[in-house]
Symmetry: C2
């Protein structure tokens, strides 16, 4: 069962100023952290990347991640989520990156697409959620 | 040899709006991400935590970390640093947390101290630095 985001912090899921700081694991077990766009689908957090990138390779190899969401109005208030990647799929990933472009940029179409890029959705089930501040 | 931060990104080290998003590794190899205060000491990045916290335990067990520093004026511009913790010490850690309180809050003394808390400095040597945007 996915752990729920506390009600008082759910606004962070929809705020377009909030990036997820996504932690993944490198082959030697050391962490990597990237800012990423995300959205919520029911109890899941979805992020979107492109096939072959470091975080794509990391999540395929070791599907455990961490997400930190910082309140843009109070940097001492944040959500810390740890969870597992329960689905990795190209199905719907082009539509999903456009949805995220709409959320973050107000644009109907993702403007940063690279030639040949294959978009991928990673569906994350929160297993541990801590709210701070 | 510590990898250098590119000149055009060095302003992020001194900007009090910039928190480091610190990735550490849990016992099972999964990542944890927390926002932390930091400063630079020569080529090193220093963070400060308290003994016994999860990130303290993680860095003592596995001294490899990642730091993401996001430009507050452009969220598509950021630094990604991966490195090793080359020193963990309580010496000077009380003075250091006060220095960070000055940087981030403009206060001479760290105001969030908990009774019995033992402060610790983690000195991080950047081994890989990527600048984005």
């Amino acid at each position: 069962m996915a752990k729920e985001i506390p009600e008082a912090f759910k606004h962070l899921l929809a705020d377009n100023r909030v990036f997820a700081h996504l932690g993944t694991s490198m082959p030697d077990g050391s962490p990597q952290v990237n800012p990423v766009w995300f959205d919520a689908e029911g109890p899941y957090i979805r992020v979107n990347s492109a096939k072959g990138r470091q975080k794509d390779k990391n999540m395929r190899r070791f599907p455990k991640v961490a997400l930190e969401l910082l309140d843009p109005d109070n940097p001492y208030r944040y959500l810390q989520i740890r969870g597992k990647v329960v689905e990795i799929t190209e199905d719907g990933a082009d539509a999903h990156i456009n949805t995220l472009a709409k959320k973050y940029l107000g644009k109907d179409t993702y403007p940063f697409r690279q030639p040949g890029e294959v978009r991928v959705i990673y569906k994350i089930e929160p297993e541990r959620v801590s709210a701070w501040g």
